[in-house]
């Protein structure tokens, strides 16, 4: 009868659900409650430590971190600065399991995640964050980050860190043109080349300048190359207006798929991302990373430890690892120059093949880095004026 059949349908569903659960390899059972009870006393102290000395030296820190056993990071794509390998070697070296939340997100997501997870001790609460420079001061003001100074603190340039240790620069890069050389035969060398009609419909930004850090910095970089300065981004907006009017700028967001397809064969990216893409693509398509002739615009991100981290010792160990020579070299493998790079170079600890793979430090000598105030003002300008000046809008329907 029909009712029996509906019971049959529901039971089959349940059966499928159970079978599917049984067949799927079992994910590790939750050990979070156990971990919390393992180190209750330590975690109270660990949250207030400001350097490895407070743990009684690196060994004390390592022991405390291993007792916690887990680390949660956020928005660290595996191919960004070789974070994937860094996370893997960290786990292998210390036995601490690393969970990465939402590799897609931006800095706003990271801050919001700390705020939402203030009381949470679960894996959804981030322990460490990697955010755009502009977010550092506000996070410090809101009490979301805990000050900490890593072992190599003194070798990080003063201009790139907060004096109290609330946040500190992790790696830098310069803005480049990323070109699909299979589609674009005549490779552009500079910003003004892109205005040429032969690149019609081939240029695209890698994000929305009103929302994405990298895209906003692209406009900033264009400004510098077209007569603007670190305080004046209008030439950059004008440049993109010209690019759009010429029909060269496509309104679509360029990603690895559209780039490889040839739909957006010219885009703008930080050099480390472009070089990582080049390595990933393995010549399919042939990817070129072009540092514009007219000037190099630099930018960097900052690290910070969450004030509400469920695993404070592990968080601090992560930072120590990232800023250790080993960590800095792994970043370099991902084409990212860590903030301690010049110190490593001075002591000649950079292996020759690795140094050969990445752009020489001299190519960054002319790079211009905006300070916090300039950065904030310019991004505000870009956000407010992008629509009206560049006007990449569609005919009213």
């Amino acid at each position: 009868m029909q009712s029996k059949k509906s019971v049959l349908v529901v039971s089959v569903f349940l059966l499928i659900a159970i079978v599917v659960s049984a067949c799927a390899p079992t994910t590790s059972a939750a050990t979070a409650p156990a971990a919390a009870t393992q180190a209750p006393a330590k975690s109270m102290d660990a949250a207030k430590t400001t350097s490895a000395a407070d743990f009684g030296g690196m060994d004390g820190l390592i022991k405390a971190a291993q007792a916690e056993g887990k680390l949660t990071t956020i928005t660290l794509p595996r191919d960004w600065c070789n974070y994937g390998e860094i996370m893997d070697t960290f786990t292998k070296k210390y036995g601490i399991e690393v969970t990465d939340l939402n590799p897609e997100g931006g800095s706003a997501d990271e801050i919001e995640a700390i705020k939402a997870n203030k009381d949470s001790k679960g894996p959804q609460a981030p322990d460490v964050i990697d955010i755009g420079l502009a977010y550092g001061p506000q996070a410090k003001k809101d009490g979301l980050v805990a000050p900490y100074k890593v072992a190599g603190w003194d070798t990080i340039p003063d201009a790139n860190k907060d004096a109290d240790g609330a946040y500190y620069g992790d790696y830098y890069g310069v803005m480049t043109l990323q070109v699909n050389a299979d589609v674009v035969k005549d490779v552009p060398k500079d910003w003004k080349d892109l205005l040429d009609p032969k690149y019609k419909g081939q240029v695209a930004l890698a994000g929305d300048p009103r929302a994405s850090n990298q895209a906003a910095q692209t406009v900033y970089a264009a400004a510098l190359a077209n007569g603007g300065s670190l305080d004046n981004v209008s030439p950059g907006l004008e440049y993109f207006k010209k690019l759009n009017a010429a029909g060269n700028l496509l309104p679509v967001i360029a990603d690895s798929g559209t780039f490889a397809k040839g739909e957006t064969p010219i885009t703008f990216a930080w050099d480390y991302l472009g070089l990582a893409a080049k390595e990933n693509n393995k010549d399919n398509p042939k990817t070129l990373v072009v540092i514009p002739d007219s000037g190099q615009f630099g930018g960097y991100y900052v690290q910070a430890i969450s004030a509400y981290a469920p695993h404070p010792a592990a968080a601090r160990l992560w930072e120590e690892y990232l800023y250790s020579d080993e960590g800095q070299l792994l970043l370099l493998k991902g084409f990212c120059h860590g903030m301690r790079y010049s110190d490593l170079a001075k002591r000649s600890v950079v292996p020759a093949e690795l140094a050969a793979k990445v752009p020489a430090p001299e190519s960054y000598a002319k790079a211009v880095f905006p300070n916090l105030d300039q950065l904030s003002k310019v991004r505000e300008d870009v956000k407010n004026q992008w629509d009206s000046v560049v006007g990449v809008n569609y005919p009213k329907q």
């Binding site: 029909q2 959804q124 990933n280």
Partner: protein, 267 residues
């Protein structure tokens, strides 16, 4: 009386246009996914995707969550929609608005709200995987509400529930019997439509799973799409193939229980 009239020409035309519209973009992705090796068509991208054990884990996890979501959604919405149709028609606009809210409330707001509320005692739910999965399924059910409710609402309009209910009551049936032996069977086609769409929604969902730190298919695909060019296209094709199998299964199971008249409609 079986109809022997053949299908009209227009039916074939519209059917053909529909199939064409659905298939062309699929072919676009398929064509791209075969070009991972330069200059030739091959399955390199597929090999790379399939050699990663995480893909199957992510797919099965999402499929599991989808099934629980579908069941929960049906159990909550069918009796509610039936009750509202029958006894509380004035409440309908309110229910409509509530079930359409998931369209306008951004998922990111929802997930942070869930975390804020349920990450501390007494309602602590983020400390164990099982309880976090309950949060996840709860969120998914909310996301499925617009589609499920509409499907069930249309299904209810197609049958005369007032007469059916009165007839059943006059025969001495209680509410349980009416729901499970009269209403549910008549809503089977509608429920299946809703289930198909809900399955699709859960499989592709990204934000909830990401921030609740659960290994679903959405975050896995997003991570892959960040830097790899051909693998996401191959991944998309594979997951569509698997989804096709799952949908076919659902359809097959239900086909045996759906009367011929229901599927082919009145003439």
């Amino acid at each position: 009386m079986a109809q022997v009239k053949p299908a009209s020409l227009w039916a074939w035309v519209w059917f053909g246009l529909g199939v064409l519209f659905f298939c062309l973009p699929l072919y676009g992705t398929l064509d791209f996914s075969l070009r991972a090796t330069k200059g030739e068509l091959g399955f390199t991208a597929y090999e790379r995707v399939l050699s990663d054990p995480e893909f199957l884990q992510a797919f099965l996890f999402s499929a599991r969550m989808a099934i629980f979501t579908i069941l929960t959604s049906i159990i909550i919405l069918v009796p509610t929609a039936y009750w509202v149709h029958l006894k509380l028609p004035r409440l309908r606009p309110v229910i409509e608005l509530i079930t359409l809210l998931p369209f306008v409330i951004p998922a990111i707001v929802l997930v942070f709200g869930l975390i804020r509320l349920y990450s501390r005692p007494p309602l602590l739910m983020t400390d164990s995987i099982f309880k976090t999965d309950i949060l996840l399924v709860g969120g998914y059910v909310i996301l499925s509400f617009p589609y499920m409710y509409r499907a069930i609402d249309i299904g209810l309009r197609a049958i005369d529930i007032r007469t059916l209910t009165e007839a059943a009551q006059s025969l001495g049936a209680n509410w349980y019997t009416i729901l499970f032996r009269v209403i549910f069977p008549n809503l089977r086609v509608a429920i299946i439509s809703g289930a198909l769409i809900t399955f699709a929604t859960v499989m592709g969902e990204l934000i909830l799973a990401s921030f609740l730190a659960r290994p679903a298919l959405g975050p896995y695909m997003a991570e892959l799409g960040r830097t790899k060019a051909y693998e996401p296209a191959a991944l998309a094709m594979i997951s569509y193939a698997l989804t096709l199998v799952a949908l076919g299964l659902i359809s097959l199971i239900s086909r045996g229980t759906v009367s011929q008249q229901q599927m082919s409609g009145a003439h």
